[in-house]
Amino acid sequence: MSEVPELAQPGFEPNPFAPHHDPIGEGSAPVDEQSPIDQPELVQLLTPEGERVEHPDYSIDLTTEEIQGLYRDLALVRRVDVEATALQRQGELGIWASLLGQEAAQIGAGRALQPDDMAFPTYREHGVAWCRGIDPMSIIGLFRGCDSGSWDPVETKFNLYTIVIGAQTLHAVGYAMGMQRDAGPGACLAFFGDGATSQGDVNEAFVFAAVFDAPVVFFCQNNQYAISEPIEKQTRIPLYRRASGFGFPGIRVDGNDVLAVLAVTRRALEAARSGQGPTLIEAYTYRMGAHTTSDDPSRYRLASEMEAWKLKDPIERLKAYLIRSGQADAAFFESIDAESDELAAHIRKATVEMPDPDPVSMFNNTYAEITPELAEQRDTFVAYQAGFSEEASQV
């Protein structure tokens, strides 16, 4: 792909997406031959080359420190991701779901959140977690198999990761309905991917949010793939346009442009907080890595597609902008690199030193108070386990 495509078509054509995902070259028409009628705006404030551009509806005014802060976020979450992937390859993690390429979508959305907002992630929102102040080791612990996420979702306002595709969108709507009912401040930000838009739960979440006017923003990272299945296996129309059928606004933003994502998400959250109901944001991005470390994307997509997207890398474009506009010098980038190296070293050390959970802990919290029959199972288990240590001590 050479450009972020403009996909909206007036309808009727069977598959407007096919040319974009046609690695074996059997597509009917290249992108630029498609009719330009009704092409959607893709909100962009920073071009892939790092040029700052204006948009008629969305603007953003950030200080140098704030833009540097965004760069730091992007660079450090990518480093977390790279280290976690390496640790999985070394056998230290069971699996890792990489965010590579989606840093701007996640940092832009994460930094749009206010303290009273509540985020509902999938299992890939390491960048949003970062913005919520969650220790990357809490996430690594989950993928190492130590727990189901050790952060406090109440305190951090960042829900636990949800593995079941799309299920959390309904939780976000319900939580938002609760905000309405207790007149609490804030709004919910529900994350999901392009594949999830086919799930019943996501569509039910759209219906509930619309009819109850719930203060929720649906943030879809369209990273082009649901494991191996390209976007045309999920939809015939651009995803953001689904919103109109449910009766609320949808907008597509360049998901590799952190400034645009921040501006668009801020606006949508503000609308939700002020009683204007839901918005669907489609952050148009690309999963530059595998679905997870268990996946092999070379079976279903060409390296050339990846190369094209590398030119739109979210971090490089912000770096280019910072340099071009004279807002950061070599010393700044060196300091981020040093911080990144330090974080990586910490992650490696903390991962290998992470203790295994206490086996008895699996019985904890199944219920608010353990039931007599479960307590009996637990006690039997403890006695059984203790038998091994007695045997060992007798040897």
Binding site: D147, S148, G149, S150, D152, P153, V154, N159, L160, T162, V164, A167, T169, L170, H171, A172, V173, G174, Y175, A176, M177, G178, M179, Q180, R181, D182, G184, C188, G200, D201, E204, A205, V207, F208, V211, N364, N365, T366, Y367, A368, E369, T371, P372, E373, L374
Partner: protein, 326 residues
């Protein structure tokens, strides 16, 4: 006056009303529960008195109802969800099993999950398909859920309130064909604990275990048996998960014989679990194997055949006779 004669349906309505009065965080959610008052009128009048924000007519989407209930529970509300009929719970099954049941454990107890899922269950009302099922075993099999079934108006009134106050998610089965059964209800009485089974008829020769709609059938069978000189004891389980085995084992140790009755298919139903536990705990007290009377391993049949499918007085007595013949 705190005592009145009420139907089981009315007792549930009164219990829901009282729970809503006691705690402003209690919300009712479901299809047609507002103006209509629910297809069985269990929520009749509640939306009028508590408003549309607390008695929520939802879109027609069961997974959506349970999924949003999860979010509300996270926010500190106590959603009481009505599933219109047993056979319509399956679209919500994923949310119930993967989310409702697990979030307390996954969050290490940080996320409250006080949700009550009311399900009218069982057959015997001449309904079309999907309206007469007994899916309790699916939920009893899932760690993190609790499952109860009321059998009479008094229990209905108290158990629904106790379930709403309880911190864990509860699947609350209502015996739909008994909605019109009446009893005297004293709203000032002291209720029995929620997760307790109860001896409802004393006898000496055979223990019959039942819950929900089959308690009445079991009691009728016990009366009929008495006329033939057979003494049948009946235990109303009330709680399906966790099981309260104390009263069950006490009874079986005395009688030495046990018959379990439920409408759900016998295969891998509650009867199988009860039989296993009884055998493990009082093997040497048993005079006969634990016998099961349940639905057959077929889809629930068209209503003209449901009397043949459902356990009834005669099938319970036949099992009692088989037990005694060992």
């Amino acid at each position: 006056m705190s005592t009145s004669t009420v139907t089981l349906g009315k007792a549930l309505n009164m219990g829901l009303r009282r729970a809503m009065e006691d705690d402003s965080k209690v919300l009712l959610m479901g299809e047609d529960i507002g103006k209509l008052g629910g297809v069985f009128r269990i929520t009749d009048g509640l939306q009028k008195d508590f408003g549309e924000d607390r008695v929520i007519d939802t879109p027609l989407a069961e997974s959506g109802i349970l999924g949003t209930a999860v979010g509300l529970a996270m926010r500190g509300f106590r959603p009481v969800v009505e599933i219109q009929f047993d056979g319509f719970v399956y679209p919500a099954y994923d949310q119930i099993v993967c989310q409702v049941a697990k979030l307390h454990a996954r969050s290490r107890g940080r996320l409250p999950m006080s949700i009550v899922i009311r399900i009218p269950f069982g057959g015997g009302i001449g309904a079309v398909e999907h309206h007469s099922e007994s899916p309790e075993a699916y939920f009893a099999h899932t760690a993190g859920l609790k499952v109860v079934a009321c059998s009479n108006p008094v229990d209905a009134y108290w158990m629904i309130q106790q379930s709403i106050k309880h911190p864990d998610p509860i699947v609350f089965f209502e015996p739909k064909r008994r909605y019109w059964e009446k009893a005297d209800l004293d709203t000032e009485a002291t209720p029995e604990p929620l997760f307790a089974s109860r001896l409802v008829r004393e006898g000496s020769q055979v223990t019959v275990l039942a819950y929900g709609p089959m308690v009445k059938t079991a009691l009728q069978a016990a009366s009929a048996a008495q006329e033939e000189g057979i003494s049948v004891e009946v235990v109303d389980l009330r709680t399906v998960s966790p099981l309260d085995m104390g009263p069950v084992l006490d009874s079986v140790r005395r009688t030495g014989r046990c018959v379990v009755v439920h409408e759900a298919p016998a295969n891998l139903g509650l009867g199988a679990e009860l039989s296993a536990r009884i055998t493990e705990s009082c093997f040497f007290d048993l005079e006969a194997p634990v016998l099961r009377v349940g639905g057959y391993d077929t889809p629930y049949p068209p209503s003209k055949l449901e009397e043949d499918y459902l356990p009834d007085l005669d099938r319970v007595l036949e099992a009692v006779d088989r037990s005694l013949a060992f």
